[in-house]
Symmetry: C2
């Protein structure tokens, strides 16, 4: 990716507007509006006109910061990734044991999805608008996750195992539990879901193991 500057340039949204703190506030306001608008009505029904109305800025202001609706969707996916990572980091600060981090991280992820229901739609829709952005979103997560699992296995905090397979398997586990228990069902207590899922990821389902 680092060897493909042209492609990378076309994928990375450029901050076009003035980099003043006031400009940055306007930019964030447009992003917030786009998240609600695209998350709520979907990418094809959302428009630059509905986004700028929602953000209470003139339509021309949009183009000071973004090139197109596709451009702002890419930026939303990147922002969502940064926000989720920050949320997970804060939720697990001070913890050193990997299994403890997994458990706390899953709870934090589920609560994040309940608070940010637009996450799924915006990220999922990006696969049909710009698949590279979508793949990169998951690959970036998986790379960090794989490294953390390798470090934990080296330290004996978890058993040895294929860290890349584990990373994707556990991302999928969180993703589907997020859909089922945070996006579609907002009532089941998150703790119960986390307990069940943590037992699976820590002990597996084989009978007779100590648990």
């Amino acid at each position: 990716m680092a060897n493909a500057p042209t492609e990378a340039a076309s994928l990375t949204p450029v901050i076009l507007g003035p980099k003043t703190s006031r400009g940055e506030k306007t930019r964030q306001r447009i992003l917030d509006a786009a998240e609600r608008d695209i998350g709520g009505r979907g990418f094809s029904d959302a428009s630059i006109s509905t986004i700028t109305q929602e953000a209470k800025v003139a339509q021309g202001t949009f183009y000071l910061y973004f090139r197109s609706k596709e451009d702002i969707l890419r930026e939303l996916v990147l922002r969502m990734g940064r926000r989720l990572r920050r949320h997970l980091t804060l939720a697990t600060t001070g913890l050193t044991d990997r299994l403890e981090i997994e458990k706390r991280g899953l709870a934090a992820f589920l609560s994040f999805v309940r608070e940010n229901p637009n996450l799924y739609r915006v990220v999922a829709e990006s696969q049909f608008v710009d698949e590279e952005t979508y793949r990169r979103y998951y690959h970036d997560f998986a790379n960090n996750y794989r490294q953390a699992l390798e470090t934990a296995a080296d330290a004996g905090q978890i058993s040895p195992g294929d860290a890349e397979v584990r990373a994707w398997a556990l991302m999928g586990l969180s993703d589907f539990l997020g859909r089922r228990y945070a996006l579609w069902d907002r009532e089941t207590p998150i703790e119960a879901v986390v307990d069940g899922a943590f037992a699976l990821m820590a002990q597996g389902m084989a009978p007779g193991a100590a648990r």
Copy 2:
């Protein structure tokens, strides 16, 4: 769902055409074309005109069998679910041990995704066209899965645990591994992925467990 006939009726595509074997062949040909077309270029770019061209039938023939592009997408999701279930059933015929079924089933799922790369796009796009169809696709799978896990736990083939949470967690595990190792990466041997994932689902990651 059984108590909501009106809703169910509006969700279930009606076979409009003559139920002759020739009519059924034409219908399947249109479905095959729609799968390639929607899977390849996406729902918004696919059209009834491109689908009927691909199927080599007159455009009016489409309306003998389907009401709209939305209608055929719904039917494709249902067909994909049936096809995947049949594939998994065939792959695990004769097996009685749940963990063995899980392992063989995961391998069968990954090979199914490699052979049917349109699966993901068609199912994933349905969430933006008809979310109820999309949810039902996963809920139907989860219901069957949950019952199988409960039966296996009762029989002592797997440890006791929250079968609903396990079902969604394991569907997510398969889904993401399918994306990573069957859809995006068509070269990594499936056996290696299955071994790593099976170790996780059977034994978990806690250190010191017998494995």
